[in-house]
């Protein structure tokens, strides 16, 4: 319970910081909504011309984008620190969190947020509500699957950003891999086969972030649900292990910093 209150306090503080510059906050949110909408319009035009790609239609794209945008939005909007971890490690900025109670990784995750994430999340929920024609059961499933996908995205970001403990800098690599994850997660699974598919369930886990959740939303299957759950637990375990082992190599730093 104290972890929930603690996370809530951080989220509230982050929101207060964002709202201190309301214009910047709302323009970031609106900008992201427009950006996402352009993609959905693109797919709508595409499927107007080609109604089905190997059985994949506009409705599937709507669900992919709903879950993908909601999960990614929540990840950067609540746990945005996961995506800036590499640069903070490289700059020796972990000191402050290392002298506080509660797990360091938790502090690092929730101590930063990207306001544009709220635009993503808002877009995902609105698109799902208005274009996916959900039943109440679908809505509950959507929320659950979005949270699972959020957990995997955050874990993935932590794992690859923690490489900075060994490489010194990992910002570029982590940005590229996160971008790759988003890209693959927003395209139909059926476009990918063979080795690429293996990659999409391991190195760039778009399969767990989008493909399995989308198939579960179409038709619930306990087998796939178990695989998704196992993948989620494994991704959290791998992320925490890499971070914990890496933390022993932390070098600190003497950079003058302010918390912003």
């Amino acid at each position: 319970m104290s972890v929930v209150r603690f996370t809530g306090a951080y989220v509230w503080a982050n929101l207060r910081v964002a709202l201190a510059y309301r214009g910047a906050f709302f323009s970031a949110v609106l900008g992201m909504v427009i950006n996402d909408a352009i993609w959905v319009v693109f797919w709508w035009l595409f499927f107007t011309r080609f109604p089905s790609v190997d059985g994949y239609g506009f409705h599937d794209i709507v669900i992919v984008w709903s879950i993908g945008a909601t999960a990614f939005g929540l990840a950067v909007g609540v746990a945005g620190g996961a995506f800036t971890l590499a640069s903070r490690i490289a700059r020796g900025e972990l000191d402050f969190y290392l002298v506080l109670p509660k797990p360091v990784i938790l502090h690092l995750l929730v101590s930063r947020m990207d306001p544009s994430g709220w635009g993503d999340a808002l877009f995902g929920v609105v698109v799902f509500a208005f274009l996916a024609s959900p039943t109440p059961t679908d809505a509950v499933t959507f929320v659950g699957l979005s949270l699972v996908a959020t957990t995997i995205i955050v874990s993935y970001a932590v794992a690859i950003n923690s490489l900075a403990f060994w490489t010194g800098r990992a910002e570029t690599l982590s940005d590229q891999l996160i971008f790759g994850l988003i890209t693959f997660a927003t395209y139909p699974e059926k476009l990918f086969t063979g080795a690429v598919k293996v990659v999409l369930y391991t190195v760039v886990p778009a399969g767990f972030v989008a493909y399995i959740p989308v198939s579960l939303l179409h038709e619930w299957d306990w087998g796939w649900a178990s695989i998704l759950l196992a993948g989620t637990v494994a991704s959290v375990g791998v992320a925490v292990s890499i971070f914990t082992v890496g933390l022993r190599r932390y070098q600190s730093g003497n950079l003058t910093t302010m918390r912003a």
């Binding site: 104290s2 306090a9 207060r16 972990l94 402050f96 506080l100 109670p101 950079l255 910093t257 918390r259």
Partner: protein, 342 residues
């Protein structure tokens, strides 16, 4: 609550060491090989084996030149860094293994790193720290109120931190770090960048915390005033070793073996001064004479014996060198020692 030094070990270090690997830059890499070749790694020492202990209630200055290992020591003692060898305990906890428990009993103030949220009022950071430390909301509110009164933060807590002066911000920083009533306060260059008034205010706050509340203070600073006005004991570290461990008075008296002898005369002196090795006149006016005496060359008593009787003395003072000179001498020794190393 008046408190003093207690017979309880607050901080103990035994052979605490920290080394790290760095590329050997003495080996040049030439041509395109620079792009992919890796230099061999060599071991560098951030902290040589260091041993000392601090009792609860003490106020200790941990001083030494840049690169001596001061910040590294504080970072190991607060659980930020892992040591390479040796052992340390802080209030009975091994910092890098029992970080969770220790963090509820200690606080840190880094002059160059802020714990306050830059765009929010300090009060919001206080609220967040209340959650982080799992403090009872009412208790935290009362505690914040008391700290606010004591540190003169009225009117400051509700202003965004970015609008505060550096001195006001540092007062808020210290208050924030005390919200959970820590037993040890680690301060790393707390007065860096502050003006004279703000420095004095912060020093008296830290001094009062130690004297009135019995909070153990462990401070590193390059500022002689911080050392002199806040601490009772100094541990000097240079060239990786503890070079001095004693009271501030002893440090000033013994580390620099130089005294200043000042003589105010009741009638003008026009005679010949005796020439003594180790004695340098620094002020010679008809009614006032001042000498610097190197006591490793000649004892102060011998100098006095040579002067008394030659002039009519109205007043005589023998002073130790100012702390600033002591610290400069310590740093000077350190740099000449490091230059001597091949």
């Amino acid at each position: 609550m008046a408190t003093g030094v207690r017979n309880e070990i607050a901080v103990a270090l035994v052979g605490l060491t920290r080394t790290f690997k760095r590329p050997d830059i003495s080996l040049p890499l030439r041509g395109l090989g620079r792009l992919w070749s890796r230099r061999p790694m060599v071991e560098a020492v951030a902290l040589h084996p260091t041993t000392f202990q601090v009792n609860a209630g003490e106020s200790v200055a941990f001083i030494g030149p840049n690169g001596a290992g001061k910040s590294t020591t504080i970072k190991i003692l607060t659980g930020i860094l892992h040591p390479t060898a040796g052992m340390a305990t802080v209030l009975g906890h091994v910092p890098w293994l029992e970080h969770g428990r220790l963090s509820r009993e200690i606080a840190t103030v880094f002059g160059q790193k802020s714990q306050l949220w830059y765009h929010l009022p300090a009060r919001d950071s206080f609220t967040l720290l209340t959650r982080i430390h799992d403090l009872d909301a009412d208790l935290a509110r009362r505690r914040a109120g008391a700290l606010c009164d004591r540190f003169g933060l009225e009117g400051l807590l509700d202003r965004p931190v970015r609008t505060l002066s550096l001195g006001e911000r540092m007062r808020c920083e210290v208050a924030a770090s005390l919200l959970h009533s820590p037993r040890i306060l680690f301060l790393d260059e707390p007065t860096i960048g502050l003006d004279v008034i703000a420095r004095q205010e912060l020093r008296s706050i830290i001094r009062e915390l130690n004297q009135r509340d019995g909070v153990t203070v462990f401070l590193t600073s390059h500022d002689a005033g911080d050392v002199e006005r806040v601490c009772d004991r100094a541990i000097v570290i240079h060239t990786g070793r503890v070079a001095f461990d004693g009271t501030i008075e002893t440090l000033r008296r013994d580390f620099v073996r130089r005294k200043t002898i000042s003589l105010d005369l009741s009638s003008p002196f026009a005679g010949e001064l005796p020439v003594m090795p180790g004695v340098v006149p620094t002020q010679l006016t008809p009614l006032r004479l001042q000498f610097q005496v190197d006591t490793t060359v000649v004892p102060a008593e011998t100098v006095l014996a040579g002067l008394i009787g030659r002039m009519q003395i109205a007043d005589l003072t023998i002073t130790d060198p100012p702390m600033e000179d002591v610290i400069a001498a310590i740093y000077g020794q350190a740099s000449s020692a490091s230059e001597a190393v091949p």
